[in-house]
């Protein structure tokens, strides 16, 4: 063997100890998570990773030992994933997300969100005036299921009592909250985003039809002189809820833009670039829908005074405005 004098063998003998150390660390991190590494191990990890990476480059140049090269490829790959990954835990990620990332991404995509809001408002206006013009359109716009007892055939008194309904007990208001949350709104919101992948056409459709429904609903009450009451019923949670839906629509349009107008990037890179910001605000919007759900489920049934209802509506609008304007500015400047 002496006369063979293989460089690759010598090289391997010198470096193998490093590889074994890294292997042990990475295996531990994979099994029990990065948090299980001690402070000392955590500082050694990047150094060992870089040493192994350099071993890999050398091995590719001098060695023909396929097993060794494949081992190094896999070890370097596994270590790479551990070294270059989000070090924050799930809770810390969530905290940072609400404080910084969500409002920042919102500001990045504000024009997309404005477009989305415009389409929703257009839908509301169309639904409102078309329904006022001819009440028969109401059922066509709303569909049978969503309208419930609120039909043009119902008396004004019936409609009014539905707006100030209190005879549900506390547990059942929570049912309303949960089912509303899990079934309809979050679904619509996530969908409005994900369907942006279809060049934004379904997003447009979803926003516009939801606007029309809202318009038709308020038109019915307007025709009975219940305008003030119906907005007072809708807006305390509606501000947050509609805002969330509009945000998701904006996210959908951002995706569509990335797909249709990639600019100087390749289409794939542009989609990925837009997609990350867009996904962030959708997660944030789902969080907003939770808040809307709590307001709707708990608050609406217990507070019946119209001025208080409006105060809550205005308060939530101001709160969101300030949140998106101020939060996360400091670290934006730093970056």
């Amino acid at each position: 063997m002496g006369e063979l004098n293989l460089k690759s063998l010598k090289f391997r003998r010198e470096r193998q100890a490093t590889w074994n150390k890294l292997d042990r660390l990475v295996t531990k991190a994979e099994r029990q998570g990065l948090a299980s590494l001690s402070a000392e191990e955590l500082t050694r990890l990047p150094a060992l990773y870089r040493a192994t990476l350099s071993s890999l480059s050398v091995a590719r140049a001098v060695s023909l030992d396929r097993n060794a090269i494949e081992y190094l490829e896999s070890l370097a790959g596994r270590a790479y994933v551990q070294v270059y990954s989000t070090k924050r835990g799930v809770l810390a990620t969530a905290r940072r997300f609400l404080r910084v990332s969500f409002p920042q991404s919102f500001r990045v995509l504000k024009w997309h969100i404005a477009l989305s809001a415009a389409i929703l408002l257009l839908g509301v206006a169309a639904g409102f005036f078309l329904t006022l013009d001819d009440m028969d359109r109401y059922t066509a716009f709303m569909g049978e299921g969503l309208a419930g007892d609120r039909t043009p055939e119902a008396s004004t008194e019936q409609l009014r009592s539905l707006l100030y309904d209190t005879d549900e007990d506390a547990a059942d208001t929570l049912v309303g909250f949960a089912s509303f949350l899990a079934t309809h709104n979050s679904r619509v919101a996530i969908m409005a985003f994900a369907l942006g992948f279809a060049a934004g056409v379904p997003t447009f459709y979803l926003l516009f039809t939801n606007g029309i429904m809202l318009g038709a609903f308020t038109a019915l009450h307007h025709s009975r002189g219940l305008s003030v009451d119906v907005w007072g019923w809708l807006l305390p949670h509606g501000i947050t809820e509609l805002f969330a839906i509009v945000i998701c629509g904006g996210a959908g349009f951002a995706l569509a833009q990335g797909l249709i107008f990639p600019g100087r990037r390749t289409r794939l890179a542009s989609l990925a670039h837009r997609g990350r910001d867009a996904a962030k605000i959708v997660i944030g919007a789902v969080f907003m829908l939770f808040i809307a759900g709590i307001i709707e489920g708990v608050f609406r049934q217990t507070v019946l005074l119209v001025p208080v209802r409006y105060a809550v509506a205005i308060g939530s609008a101001v709160a969101w405005f300030l949140y998106f304007r101020i939060m996360g500015r400091a670290s934006e400047d730093a970056a």
Binding site: Y84, A171, A178, S186, A194, L268, A272, G275, A279
Partner: protein, 295 residues
């Protein structure tokens, strides 16, 4: 004899399948990953769906107990609904953030999510690739259910077009080389195999110092790197007791390099000596800048 040769062939082909995804690490060293085949992806998904179901059952337990015990049915149903919402939407996000791009199912299937450009796998990317699951996975499932329910087919053109679109999105991974689904496109990620290779002993170490076979330069120049590594794979298969394959290959090589065919040699000893000599020869060539790929 013929069967063992076929076995060797099959083994080699297996090693070469699968698209390679090369990413450049921040250190400037390219790392090669193998794109995860669809079979692994589907396997991982099935396991994850199973775990989601188990998670939902366990999570919903308090609600079910309340429902049976008769304390506030409203609250119980709300609890179950919320559990369902959280499990379906946050199962993947939670594990991929916590486990660096892996979920329990992915771990079992030996696959992993990485950033397509070699950067950090960020939380945003994980959000993006998993939010689209609603459209890619859950809508097609509901559509299949509802389509089979109303098989009479009174539906119009729009639902049909919608269904076609949704299925195109759902089947996207089957039609591109890197098996990207819509969520991967949006997030800029790719799913790769995460194999745990084992470092075996270097075969050269097993060559005895004295009494080994000697080969001339001409004999060693017959083969290239490809053949050398085929031989390495074969020698590492040794412990599986496939003596026939060794015999076949040993005979072939002796013919090819003009070795004496009459005297019997121990195929294991002959081949490992040949491997060591051949590797030394080719590695020396590499250092001088000529890499001989194949014969």
């Amino acid at each position: 004899m013929r069967e063992s040769a076929a076995y060797v062939e099959r083994y080699l082909r297996r090693r070469e399948s699968g698209a390679i995804k090369e990413i450049l690490t921040p250190e400037g060293v390219p790392l090669r990953f193998t794109v995860a085949p669809l079979s692994n992806r589907i396997g991982a998904l099935l396991f994850d769906l199973l775990f989601m179901m188990l998670g939902f059952i366990v999570g919903a337990m308090p609600g079910v107990v309340m429902l049976i015990g008769g304390f506030g049915s409203g609250f119980a149903i709300a609890w179950i609904g919320l559990t369902f919402f959280f499990v379906t939407n946050f199962y993947f996000i939670f594990f991929e953030i916590r486990r660096q791009g892996s979920t329990p199912g992915k771990r079992i299937a030996g696959i992993k999510v990485i950033d397509r450009k070699g950067g950090v796998l960020s939380a945003e990317a994980i959000f993006a690739r998993n939010l689209t699951r609603q459209v890619e996975l859950f809508i097609p499932l509901t559509l299949i259910l509802s389509l089979s329910l109303m098989a009479s087919g009174s539906s119009g053109l729009m639902p049909m077009l919608g269904a076609v679109w949704v299925f195109v999105v759902a089947l996207l991974p089957a039609f591109n080389r890197e098996h990207l689904r819509a969520g991967d496109l949006i997030a800029g990620t790719v799913v790769v195999l995460a194999p745990r290779e084992v470092l075996f002993k270097d075969l050269v170490q097993e060559v005895r110092a004295e009494d080994h076979f000697e080969f001339t330069q001409e004999q060693l120049d017959v083969y290239g790197v490809y053949e050398l590594q085929v031989l390495e794979d074969l020698l590492r298969q040794q412990d599986r007791g496939d003596q026939d394959a060794l015999e076949v290959v040993c005979m072939k090589i002796r013919e090819k390099i003009g070795w004496d065919l009459v005297t019997w040699v121990d195929p294991w000893r002959f081949l490992s000596d040949f491997y060591a000599a051949q590797r030394a020869r080719l590695e020396r060539g590499m250092l001088l800048g000529n890499r001989k790929e194949t014969k």
